[in-house]
Symmetry: D3
């Protein structure tokens, strides 16, 4: 029995509020239990130098924990003068994940930046970020389509992510912070709507995992992602 | 006549949503028209080195524009590796303003950090931050009072702020971005509930202002602040 | 009675030594009592990227306290690796002030940088910097005129600045460090020679100020600036 | 058929030269084909602040590409002033992997830093680093045992790592750079000598992977790690 | 014949204005022709961590070119965020030179920082800095002696420095910028009043030098330093 | 008698392993006793901005101590976020030395970077770096000649370096760390194969040196360099 009464294979209450802010081309507030992330997608005409005049666009991501998003205040990285290794790992993961469902040629020579700013952190912020950023990205691409004609749809599929892990010897889905902090194993799984894997990152934090645990974690993740993909479709009115 | 139909001495629609997030000791979402700022107040037992063992506490502030808060994406300061001069000016102003209505001795040896993160920027973000941070601060001090007994109330008054300016030759209250970007003069006024001034910063951006314009700007600011102080009281149930 | 015997509305001994150094296009050593600042104005053909090919020039400023300028040595910012928030605030103020009396179109596509390096700090360094930088700027513009023909005078007026404050309940002009460190209120006022305000920044450091004190501070500042403008004219031989 | 003639499940020529340098407490030069990494393990009495007086030690890692290790020179991170996100990801992975086979209590209050400096980079540098760092760590712990008596062996198992991936539709073991740069999928697998997984990081770079490909990659990785574990034992004379 | 009419072994007009500023414990303005450097010596009770409680003091130095000290403005290092390699080389040289004539035990547990800020740069700024810093140091040590009793004199000798070089095939003393920029060889020589060498740094910039040129450069340097040592004595009233 | 039994004018065992790594255009492992440095020379088409389109090339250098190269681990500069003053001094010295034997016009518009990474540090790392970098440079220039036709040989001579010093009152050649750490005087001498001096840097660390000691140090250095130049020729097959 989990602390909050959930079954091992049960997601927390999940919601995506599309269009949460109105300045960026696309935005969403994504909620997994107490975890809340503002995802925005901004269109910039300027590409990074190594991509200019290559006939392709780019999708990148940045991530932060707002200082007040945790019970103990998290130091602001702009004050410390650099992003932590953890932040960089997460934003690289978000960007790779979303690029995997984009046709960068179809996008044309623009950059879309996905900003994922966590306003409440209770575990699973990176997977919530990926799941919410997808909705912001779709709306930004639609906005791009209103600004210029796009011959092909730059969005080639759906993408969502969930965490799984081993807590107290049992494989569970969608760990909250109280579970994550005592988990033996923590795995983040990013998938598309063809049932294929985009990323799979499993870590035995102070512990290890067997092949059978790996198989069971993957099975739960497939279930969780499937529900998230359906929520994305509903939110986007498909 | 102003672009959005307001009278010269009229505030935008203003709102404060108390307890907007639940991790920090106090929080508020403050709205001035399209400008929206998440203000959180976090309690830390650790004081900055120069204040340790002095029998007093400290109130400080940090400010940021989230990258997606502006129509053109704002570069993330954590990526650039430093806070801009503008950011530092604003967060120093917020901190001085709120300290002016605090009894740091009554607070005891704790630090309260006010984080003001702008999620939509449409002018007046610094004055909105001050006005909202007050509500977050009051709730954080109440939380502190639940954790330990406070012999005196560390909050000695109320504090709110508004911008005034000269636009097209006319003195107006609470400029939005479309006004601010063409204003001859821009002034930020921070006041307390005794009708006294805490800060007053007037800048002739590419222009100058006369003494009579100064007097008129101050008069409008007094009116605006008065309404904001009343809103704060209402939100706090006083 | 003030510590150094001055009347409330009396300036310290003020002097401007024009051409103090000979490498920069313009320079001045400005003295307010024990406060001494070397101001230089350097002409650069290279504009910041966002201004290139716009048919206009730029005036900017940088400020520092030399480490030996204070009785307790001030840490060198080049060693700390960044400029403090205070330094940035001050140099932004100096630059805005001097730009307000410049016709950037008449200047043509050059940048003039005003460097204000404090060699003795005894209060009022930012207002002394503005007052001295004006003289350096005038000489740099004259030098620019010798290098190329300027159709209009890029200098459209005069600019000087002074501090006022409330010390022990009394409004006083031109605070030295011993006054500044115990002042209830500190206000910096930048004006031009038409009697208009360029900047006005008042701070209640641990205190607040009433409207009547504001009016009185402004009155004293007008007097002080008037004397400084006259000194500038005399030094420049007008 | 692979470019260099290897079978899909064949490792490159692998070697570990124990004691490659003599200043650090432990060291090894690890070779995977043309990839060469100097691994050193240094003992420091000083723990990071958050671990002091906790009765436990720490194992951490740092990673770099020497500028001359790649055909196109790699910029030196000390000159750029920061470590890239990629570098931080890798060194965090190395450290977590090696900590998983350490008993930090048995280590006592010392820190061991594993430095992995790549002198030739031809793919698989992070897995080579983990595999070589193990040997350096074992020798550093032996040296620690000579300096002070250790009641229990701080090394609780063996740890090695290998990359697998999908290249041209085929699952292959131990990718060199020419394969890695065109791979559809790249996965790094860290395991211990109980056949358990420590880390598993799979990325579909511009592609995705199916569950059956995942299973096949894991199978090849198990084979590769098994050979590396045996090599480690041989090098260590066990 | 040299451009400015000097003989090969002739110094420029040299002067030291003792007590140039009054905030630091010691100060001097040193002039070598058009080169002018403000040297201050500040006493701090706080030692760097590695020297604390060792019964000894420390003498260190920092150097900068003020931006307006050169005809082409020199970028401010505090803005660039770091000191250049050249700056660090120079300040390390100044510090080593002055420490060589100090008895750090006699100094007691204080740090004296020598700040050398160049206000006009026309070649030879590092040797001028050393020569002037000596005078500032002597006065700071005298001030230290007034604050606490010193059993032994911490100043054990005199120290001065001069540049020599090969210009157009001829060995010359005290190069100005016009000579330095075309010199084949540039050598800085630091000596004490016993005729011994403290530092000797010779560089063939795009050229090399023979042993006989080395001998001749050393001979000229000895003469130049001898005059500077006498000037120091005169300025200090000895 | 020296600790390791050498005569005062005797070098340690010196070796240069040409082609130590195979990715860079040139490389060498240079050994002076226990001191070992990997030197690589990389060719880049891209020149620094101030040299572009000038018809000349550039030779630069970077230096580091690998963290595990010293018995007490040396902190990694990429982690500290900047190169120390010592590192910058050394790499500037290496670059100047090698440029002195290059014809930058003959090189054409390319940059060659000499990376000197110390894998074992036992004194004399900067002189070993210069001596080994010469071999790497020669091989990189040969490789450049294979890529494009060079009308003149860009290498105009040979260059090697050695340290000399005063230890316990005696002048000795090629100090190891145990000697260097107690030396009264330390001098690095860089020479070419015409018997001319390129650089000469002598420092009295806590001591000074007389003219006769200077002459004796130079004599020993000439002998040492002569042997090193011969070793270079032998290694290069000349």
């Amino acid at each position: 029995m989990r602390r909050d009464g959930r079954e091992p294979d049960e997601l927390r209450a999940v919601a995506i509020e599309r269009g949460f802010t109105e300045m960026a081309a696309g935005s969403a507030l994504v909620t997994f239990g107490k975890t809340k992330v503002i995802c925005t997608a901004s269109i910039e005409e300027k590409l990074p130098p190594w991509l200019r005049n290559g006939g392709k666009g780019w999708v990148t991501a940045e991530y932060s924990l707002l200082p007040g998003s945790t019970p103990e205040r998290s130091a602001r990285e702009a004050v410390k003068g650099k992003q932590s290794g953890r932040t960089q790992e997460i934003q690289r993961l978000i960007a790779r994940s979303l690029r995997s469902i984009c046709d960068l040629k179809a996008l044309g020579e623009v950059q879309i930046t996905l900003d994922c700013d966590v306003i409440q952190a209770d575990g699973g912020t990176r997977t919530a970020s990926i799941t919410g950023a997808y909705v912001a990205l779709v709306d930004a691409v639609a906005e791009l389509g209103r600004r210029r004609s796009l011959s092909n749809d730059p969005i080639t599929g759906q993408c969502a992510a969930i965490s799984v892990g081993v807590v107290g010897g049992e494989v569970v889905l969608d760990l909250d912070y109280s579970e994550d902090s005592v988990a033996d194993v923590d795995m983040n799984v990013v998938m598309n709507d063809s049932g294929e894997f985009i990323e799979l990152q499993g870590t035995g934090e102070g512990s290890t995992f067997s092949k059978s645990q790996l198989v069971e974690m993957v099975r739960l993740a497939e279930r969780g992602v499937s529900d998230l993909l359906e929520l994305q479709r509903k939110v986007l009115g498909r």
